[in-house]
């Protein structure tokens, strides 16, 4: 029964997405209808997919089904297990919000854009993501992976008149194909050893592969998934592509599409290959630390609201990789229990990031919708015209900064505990890496808090910095409902974490043979513990209630004081120079100035000031200020690489003579060589 309803639910959700895709394409001449079809189909698919995923998460044994295709090595094989269920849940929660949000968001585009095409790409993206998370055949997986990349490309370049958008799309599609190429080679390696492309047939392989093959498989898969996840130094496409997409799409790209990389690592490294060597785990951990710290440092320098959020995705992927790396190391070192806790930390952060990053992108989308700009320097004071958006964004900002009592805090807390436990569990000098990684996580968290003080403070507080934000208005109700749903999810997963933990049990059981939820909860479900008897406990719920209770006497004092001695509104202290205006306000650039100077080794900032004055240099009439930081990776790594590729291609151009005879000769020679190769085997 359970099994039947699971596959039915999966099929229905896929069918909803597919119907939405084709129906909205068919109705492209009637934009209002296409918009409704696109959003309702996505919502229906998400609700069905979400309900199915709950069934999947709780199942101990996977449900698998396969339809042969007649093509060698290829079959429509699906396996719906706890890991698939978990990622489908992480897909369904933001998608439900985004599709409700899109009812209002897309309305603006009616008549200006082809909403039918948008609905087609959007629903097809969701469909392909669902298949990526459930495919059990290498080629099915790769096809779904490719469809994800192509539909995402279509959505990223939806505003294709803009040159910046086209360039970002091109960069995205190039990187997406490099990663698909790596995965193809990785799977080819596995298929070569087994003669089958089914994931199930790879599983006994771990024992068969020799050291070199194992290393090669790890490197190829890691490259492929790391590029997809936007890990530094393969991140350059992410801050380019995510901001230029429509905001509802940005929410999905950052919220869930990059998580396919995390899913892939969990699926291949933990499930299919059944563990990777210890150095590989360390590599994942270190790459995670680097991504987290550099991601947030680059985010701090942004004053484009959506680019800032995109860089935070890199940071959070880094935090997830810290947990995942620790899980890989503990598994090899023979600590399945610790590995399970580390995996819970990583997966919980994956889900949490999917939720609060979608929320923040939707909030940024409302701001963009209302002000028409992504530049924070033109915003300000938006909390007055847009109170609900501001509140939702604030909750998202607290959650992503890892502050208690919301969900971001809980998963970062688990990551800290994992890293601390690693110091005791791993032998040798390398164990010092764990507390060091913990301290870098602390740096990341504190810098993220600084960045979101800037993002929220400059965008929503004080006075408007331009006409665009002076005329701002609140977003339509559907958009607010979408954001409100995610805001609730942030609070619920933080405060109610102890009731949510059993959701990880089947997954950790399947991948590591351990169920940990009962170890992670003490004191009748009130307190989250780190799994070991004496290693640390925390209770977000009690923290939240305690904060509220302790604020009551403070509020009484204030109320009593105000009642007797009054309270009035007055102008801000202007240093005796009357007429304080928005020009006196701190800007986003100024806010991050201190950090720009402290980390100048990394940023290599350049600034240019031109002042025009009449009488004295102390009273300038005009000042022109320009400041920028060096895009290190683009300049030092990718620019030389690009130059190299261009050089090689221009050499190779000599064989491209443009003569059809020459090309026929090439084809013939290639054919002969391939035949010889085949015969020799």
């Amino acid at each position: 029964m359970n099994m039947l309803s699971l596959s039915t639910g999966f099929a229905l959700s896929v069918a909803a997405y597919a119907a939405g895709a084709f129906a909205s394409l068919a109705c492209w001449r009637r934009p209002a209808l296409a918009r409704r079809i696109c959003c309702s189909a996505a919502l229906a698919g998400a609700v069905l997919g979400g309900l199915t995923s709950v069934l999947g998460i709780l199942r101990d044994t996977p449900v698998a089904w396969s339809v042969p295709s007649g093509i060698p090595l290829f079959a429509y094989s699906f396996s719906y297990d706890a890991l698939a269920g978990f990622f489908n849940l992480a897909l369904a929660i933001p998608v439900a919000a985004v599709s409700i949000y899109s009812f209002g968001y897309l309305k603006e585009l009616e008549g200006k854009r082809n909403i039918g095409l948008f609905g087609f790409l959007f629903n097809l993206l969701l469909l392909s993501l669902t298949v990526v998370f459930t495919a059990a055949n290498a080629f099915l997986f790769l096809i779904a992976w490719e469809v994800t990349a192509l539909t995402a490309y279509g959505l990223v370049t939806f505003y294709h008149e803009d040159r910046e958008t086209r360039r970002a799309g091109l960069l995205y599609v190039i990187m997406a194909h490099i990663d698909a190429g790596c995965l193809l080679l990785g799977f080819a390696l596995l298929i070569n050893s087994t003669g089958s492309a089914e994931f199930a047939s790879f599983r006994p392989l771990a024992a068969v592969l020799n050291g070199g093959q194992q290393t090669a498989a790890f490197v190829l898969f890691f490259l492929g998934f790391a590029i997809k996840a936007g890990v530094i130094p393969f991140h350059i496409w992410l801050p380019a592509a995510h901001p230029v997409a429509p905001s509802n799409v940005s929410a999905l790209l950052s919220g869930i599409v990059i998580k396919t990389g995390i899913y892939g690592m969990a699926r291949i490294f933990l499930d299919v290959l059944g563990g990777v060597p210890s150095w590989a785990g360390l590599l994942v951990l270190i790459v995670g630390v680097v991504s987290a710290v550099l991601g947030v440092l680059y985010a701090l320098m942004e004053h484009d609201l959506k680019r800032l959020l995109a860089y935070h995705s890199i940071e959070n992927i880094g935090i997830i990789l810290m947990g995942l790396g620790a899980a890989l190391i503990f598994r090899v070192a023979g600590h399945p229990m610790l590995a399970a806790v580390a995996l819970v930390a990583a997966m919980f952060h994956t889900l949490n990031h999917a939720i609060f990053k979608s929320l923040l992108f939707l909030g940024a989308g409302s701001v963009l919708h209302s002000t028409g700009t992504r530049n924070m320097e033109e915003m300000g004071g938006l909390i007055r015209p847009m109170p609900v958006t501001a509140f939702c964004f604030l909750i998202g900002a607290i959650a992503i900064s890892g502050l208690p009592p919301l969900n971001g805090f809980v998963s970062e807390w688990l990551t800290y505990q994992t890293l601390l436990a690693g110091f005791g569990a791993i032998s040798g000098l390398r164990r010092i890496l764990f507390p060091l990684a913990g301290s870098m996580l602390a740096l990341t968290g504190a810098l993220a808090a600084a960045c979101f003080v800037k993002a929220f403070g400059i965008t929503f507080l004080a006075l408007p910095r331009g006409a665009k934000s002076r005329n701002a208005h609140e977003a339509p109700r559907t958009m607010l409902i979408g954001m409100g749903w995610l805001t609730l999810a942030c609070a619920a997963l933080g405060l109610g974490v102890t009731w949510f933990l059993p959701a990880f049990d089947a997954m950790t059981e399947q991948l590591l043979g351990q169920r940990v939820s009962t170890h992670l909860v003490t004191a009748h479900g009130l307190v989250l513990s780190a799994g070991m008897p004496t290693s640390g406990t925390v209770s977000p719920l009690v923290i939240a209630v305690g904060l509220l209770v302790l604020m009551v006497p403070a509020a009484l004092l204030v109320v009593l004081g105000v009642r007797r001695f009054g309270r009035k509104r007055g102008p801000v202290w202007d240093c005796g120079l009357p007429g304080l205006s928005e020009e006196n306000e701190y800007t986003a650039t100024a806010f991050s100035k201190a950090l720009r100077m402290i980390f100048s080794v990394l940023y290599k900032p350049r600034r240019e000031i031109q002042a025009v004055f009449d009488v004295s240099p102390y009273f300038p009439k005009e000042i022109h200020f320009e400041s920028e930081i060096e895009p290190t990776f683009e300049k030092r790594l990718y620019a030389p690489l690009q130059e190299f590729i261009f050089r090689v291609s221009s050499r190779m151009r000599t064989i491209q003579a443009g003569s059809i005879h020459a090309y026929l000769a090439y084809i013939f020679v290639t054919l002969v060589l391939l035949l010889l190769f085949g015969v020799r085997k």
């Binding site: 004071g381 909390i383 604030l394 900064s401 208690p404 805090f409 800290y416 601390l420 005791g424 000098l429 507390p435 913990g438 301290s439 870098m440 602390a442 740096l443 968290g445 504190a446 808090a449 600084a450 003080v453 800037k454 929220f456 403070g457 929503f460 507080l461 004080a462 006075l463 307190v527 004496t534 640390g536 406990t537 925390v538 923290i543 305690g546 904060l547 302790l550 604020m551 403070a554 509020a555 004092l557 204030v558 004081g561 105000v562 001695f565 309270r567 009035k568 509104r569 007055g570 102008p571 801000v572 202290w573 304080l580 928005e582 006196n584 306000e585 701190y586 100024a590 806010f591 201190a594």
Partner: protein
């Protein structure tokens, strides 16, 4: 349950009362060392009482965030105070949050205060917020490394557990790792409580100010809450230092006598640490803002050395 409630109530009273006394004592000691008479150790109480009986002026530009910040600062500081062992090893809220919760709750208060600074639209507020978030961000890794060194020794991040382990080995602070960790945390304490050489708590009249710039627009009861919260935060951080490294007088029993002895020891230890702070404040000049990271880097390196020396000794 009742025990937790009584313990919480006692500790809450202690927190609310000792915190201003400690600030007042530091001010007086500092004045005496500088050949001034000083305001007297009760001055902080008078300040808070005075502020509570003043009218409030709210900037025209401010939103509800400006009003929320004082409550958050006060609430987080007092809640954190309940998670930390003061007179016995029993912290009433130890089970509900360890040292990580302490650090992150203080960060939550700071997050709101920095937003409150930006909310006024005055450039001072923004300046203060920017500097406060910057300095706390660089202080964080040093703080965590030092705390990890202690937590790894105790195998727990819960402060009561850490205190219990420390009680078992009172002379542990002589170990190199502990001394290095203490030095690192002391520097972080100076930075986090905004003292010379990082920030000058005595003035809001210079452009180098950090904390005072952020709260420049607050007045009346809101300012009282912020000042009170800041002094509680200072007390909490000092308690963290004295009780995890020097567990003298801490008892794991919970009787009237142990509480009394614990209280006497606790106050004496606080006074000693206060003297150290006063000495540092008096003998140093305030650093330029961009020299502060160097100081905090020293703290980070001390923390890393502390961690490494746990291998060696």
């Amino acid at each position: 349950m009742t025990e937790v409630l009584i313990n919480s109530a006692l500790q809450l009273v202690l927190l609310l009362l000792v915190a201003p006394l400690l600030s007042g004592t530091i001010k007086t000691l500092k004045a005496r060392l500088q050949m001034r008479r000083g305001p007297g150790i009760l001055q902080s109480y008078r300040d808070i009482l005075k502020l509570l009986r003043k009218g409030m002026v709210i900037p025209e530009t401010a939103s509800w965030i400006f009003s929320a910040a004082p409550y958050m600062v006060f609430g987080t500081a007092t809640l954190v105070g309940l998670m930390i062992p003061m007179t016995t090893t029993h912290a009433p809220f130890s089970l509900f949050g360890g040292v990580l919760a302490v650090v992150y709750l203080l960060a939550l208060g700071r997050f709101f205060l920095a937003l409150g600074g930006l909310d006024t639209g005055s450039s001072f507020g923004g300046l203060g917020s920017s500097r406060e978030m910057t300095i706390s961000a660089i202080a964080e890794p040093a703080m965590m490394l030092a705390i990890f060194t202690v937590a790894l020794g105790a195998n727990s991040t819960n402060l009561s557990e850490m205190a219990k382990v420390a009680v078992g080995q009172s002379w542990r602070f002589l170990a190199p790792s502990q001394m290095l960790a203490f030095a690192a945390l002391f520097i972080v304490l100076i930075a986090e409580t905004g003292r010379i050489p990082v920030d000058n708590p005595a003035t809001h009249l210079e452009l180098t100010m950090i904390h005072e710039a952020m709260i420049l627009e607050y007045s009346g009861p809101y300012l009282a809450l912020i000042e009170w919260g800041a002094s509680i935060k200072q007390l909490v951080l000092m308690t963290l230092l004295v009780n995890t490294f020097f567990p003298f007088g801490l008892s794991s029993d919970w009787t009237l006598q142990t509480i009394g002895v614990g209280l006497a020891f606790y106050l004496a230890k606080l006074l000693t640490l206060a003297c150290m702070i006063v000495l540092v404040e008096t003998t140093n000049a305030k650093l330029r803002l961009f020299r502060v990271p160097e100081l905090l880097m020293v703290a980070f390196i001390l923390g890393a050395l502390a961690l490494i020396s746990t291998f060696l000794f």
